[in-house]
Amino acid sequence: MDDRDLVGLARGGDQEAFTQLIVQYQVPLYNMALRMVGGPDDAADIAQEAFLRAWEKIRTLRDAPFKSWLFQIAANLCYDHFRRGRRYGVMPEEDQTGNVVGLGIATPDPQERAEANERNRLVRQSIEALEHDMRIAIVLRDVNGMAYDEIASVLRVPLGTVKSRIARARAQVQERLRQHPDLFPSPSTREDAHAE
């Protein structure tokens, strides 16, 4: 049963169908919110509110894809969150990897694991430093893996704007990461080292 079928059932009041949509989108939606607002509790609040509003408004959803519509609701909630000034731009230093301890298994060497954690922390910080419009563009693209036209639909902006925001966001993140050449060596440097 695909999204369209589930939405059709949910429009008729079928809560089980809507719960399947929640199951399908809860992790990507939560991670989008997490990368936007930083704190896991705020991100979970936004995801919950997005699902609740989607449920309440699902009868107004006609031909638009559910995924884009749901992410649009969540994106608006992120902007509301910023407007309210709650933890604006703050990326708590609390352990955000508490739910991903299993990843350590892939790099059991303590030094490798520490470096991977530090790289992830710097990437999160670099995303956090972006202006909101650029932040959400790179998050939808590189965290959620959305196509440009899908992002344009979520953000309700032209395709050219999506291209521009993603490119500028990547350039700014790159500039920040380059300040840590030990963890993010420039590709040319790595090639030189490899050649030696």
């Binding site: 695909d2 809560q15 089980e16 809507f18 719960t19 399947q20 929640i22 199951v23 399908q24 809860q26 992790v27 990507p28 939560y30 991670n31 997490l34 990368r35 896991p40 979970a44 995801a47 919950q48 699902f51 609740l52 449920w55 309440e56 955000q96 990897t97 739910n99 991903v100 301890v101 299993g102 990843l103 350590g104 298994i105 892939a106 059991p108 060497d109 790289r119 992830n120 990437v123 995303i127 693209r141 590189d142 965290v143 893996g145 959305m146 440009y148 291209k163 521009s164 993603i166 490119a167 500028r168 990547r170 350039a171 993140v173 790159q174 990461l177 380059r178 420039s186 590709p187 040319s188």
Partner: protein, 283 residues
């Protein structure tokens, strides 16, 4: 009349970025490719953008600590609740949607088990033999024994489940479940992990990029999942784990988190994680 330049115009930043994502039209994609092939400077710019995009994509997909739900009645006040009990409704749905269906298919299809013994597993994965304590399911499950385990559980609905969908591939899901949310420290825990839509048909967890950990107070024990391929082609991993034999530290009773991490073996670096809470009771 001036001749055409041999190398097309230097692409703008946004063109290079979109080129990386294959989001240019065919002619622009070809033009940028041609330019980059002959321009070291733009090759370096492109490599830098690629490195940055990969760094962002490498951020782990995290599992929310709470379950999302909708109220029984519209506009009714709602509130958060721990995954364990409000999640039961969603879990029940998960079972209906994903669990029972596959398990029934498995039961009726004469599955083939191809996993090696835990000793072979360790030999193939020396990095997993260090730094993290590992535990295997009940002694060296033979193919037929594993079949029997899964066949036996086919009629028993899992009661503690979590499903994570791949945001880039609607048909790919990681489904983790246990047969209970609470066990005696002297009991046995049944774990099942389904890798729906896996690009690999291997029943070897290392080939699949699958790890399973049981974590308590920040200390993890790696569990070795053994695998079979179900009748519908879905790799299914897991087994029965004797809890007294697990090298758990400190008081064994307490709240644990069982996490399955799947680094999808398609070279994308995409990581799916599913986690369930597990409580151990007793001494």
């Amino acid at each position: 009349m001036p001749s055409e330049p041999r190398i097309p115009t230097e692409p703008l930043l946004e063109e290079l970025s979109a080129y990386l994502d294959h989001e240019l039209d065919a002619s622009a994609q070809a033009r940028v490719a041609e330019h980059v092939a002959g321009c070291q400077s733009c090759q370096a710019r492109l490599d830098g953008l690629r490195q940055t995009a990969n760094a962002v994509r490498a951020l782990p997909m995290e599992t929310p600590r709470r379950t999302f739900t909708i109220p029984a009645q519209r506009r009714q006040a709602w509130r958060w609740a721990p995954v364990g009990w409000v999640g039961s409704a969603a879990v029940a749905l998960l079972v209906i949607a994903f669990g029972i269906q596959n398990l029934h298919l498995l039961a009726g299809s004469g599955s083939t088990a191809t996993a090696g013994s835990s000793a072979n597993y360790s030999a193939r994965n020396p990095q997993r033999a260090t730094g993290v304590r590992a535990a295997s399911p009940l002694a060296s499950p033979a193919a037929s024994a594993l079949d029997q385990q899964f066949n036996a559980q086919a009629g028993t609905a899992p009661v503690n489940a979590s499903t994570v969908a791949d945001p880039t591939n609607g048909s790919r899901r990681l489904v983790l479940d246990t047969d209970s949310a609470s066990y005696s420290t002297n009991g046995k825990m049944r774990v099942t992990i389904q890798l729906e839509g896996s690009p690999s048909s291997s029943a070897n967890s290392a080939d699949q990029g699958l790890t399973l950990t049981l974590v308590h107070n920040g200390v993890g024990v790696a569990l070795n999942p053994v695998g079979v391929i179900s009748g519908n082609g879905t790799p299914i991993f897991g087994g029965w784990y004797e809890l007294p034999s697990l090298p758990l530290s400190g008081p064994r009773a307490g709240d644990y988190r069982l996490t399955a991490t799947w680094v999808v073996p398609d070279g994308s670096g995409r990581v799916l994680q599913a986690a369930v809470a597990v409580q151990l009771t007793g001494s």
